[in-house]
Symmetry: C2
Subunit: 164 residues, 2 copies
DNA sequence: TCACAGTCGTTCAAATTCGAACCACTCATC
DNA sequence: GATGAGTGGTTCGAATTTGAACGACTGTGA
């Protein structure tokens, strides 16, 4: 194997900033949500996806594709949310294997209650720290990064791989 | 409470890209490291910090400040690495409470063995997807974001708060 | 219509993570 | 030098995460 192309100083700076920002923001949001709404960020995202879904419900697999969990992780979290009455499970009529998850009225309320604080935290941590141009640039750059990886995930053996 | 300032479309795009890129890259690296080197990203970072340390060793607290774990998480991972002989612990002579962590020869070898593949993965996932200008912009923007949050963490009750 | 490869979601055990409680110690003050 | 607030790291239990294995089912092609 030939000598690898190490990161030069500027590349390293970008990488480190990305890493640090990612983890700090993650912590920031996690704490805020847990404290003010008793939800994990993971759970909040699930509720959002369900609320945004066209029919108000989603198949487990679709849900997992949007989120960052493994299939089993999703099962766990949905179970948790169901126990709290925020989400309900329903077997899919066209495919008995399938399961629809749907927001309950309580779930909707919980989401509406949590949203303002969460958005404020996102603003505080990221959005309001950057100007318009920086935001657009970020969306453009990281959007490309995310898209590439999502495509590439199709053929790996990971548990919850979308495999579209 | 007044109506919160929701995110407009462009802000949302930036936020979503950031989230997705972060988690996808995390998974990407985690998998690559685990497969090719048997290390978690967390562990890899620990080894890097120790290797870069001026005296080849660091206090647990210093280490925790750089990384993203809680104090207890660090104790756990260092224990793990120690069991594998990659790291050694030594009580600090100036302060009996303190503990120095230091890379062993094996640890150095493990790091050198893991580094090329890891760097390649970072390039593939992030660095080589962006051009020079984008990289600099990213470093600038997210650097600011990270710095702000790190400052703000000083007075929160989190476990491993750096508290400098 | 009969395999049969692939899909869906769950279950399982193992690994990791976190915060709170804790113990031993240090340091500034009295 | 005693005292008390604060630090540094570990330990503990609970929550979460993951991949592998599983059981049930689907859809396709012979």
């Amino acid at each position: 194997m030939t000598e690898p192309r190490w990161l030069d100083e500027r590349e390293m700076a970008a990488w480190q900033s990305f890493l640090r920002a990612g983890s700090r923001i993650g912590r920031h949001l996690e704490r805020q949500l847990k404290e003010e709404s008793g939800l994990s960020h993971q759970q909040y995202e699930i509720l959002v996806r369900l609320a945004d879904a066209p029919d108000g419900e989603l198949r487990m697999t679709e849900l997992a594709a949007h989120l960052v969990t493994s299939k089993s992780g999703l099962t766990y979290q949905i179970g948790r949310l169901e126990r709290r009455g925020l989400v309900r499970r329903r077997t899919c009529e066209s495919d008995v294997r399938g399961v629809h998850a749907r927001l309950t009225a309580d779930g909707g309320r919980a989401l509406r209650a949590a949203a303002p604080g969460h958005v404020a935290a996102v603003r505080e941590a990221l959005i309001d720290v950057l100007d318009r141009g920086e935001l657009d640039q970020l969306a453009e750059s990281l959007g490309r990064v995310a898209r590439r990886l999502e495509e590439g995930e199709a053929h790996t053996g990971t548990d919850n791989t979308p495999r579209r």
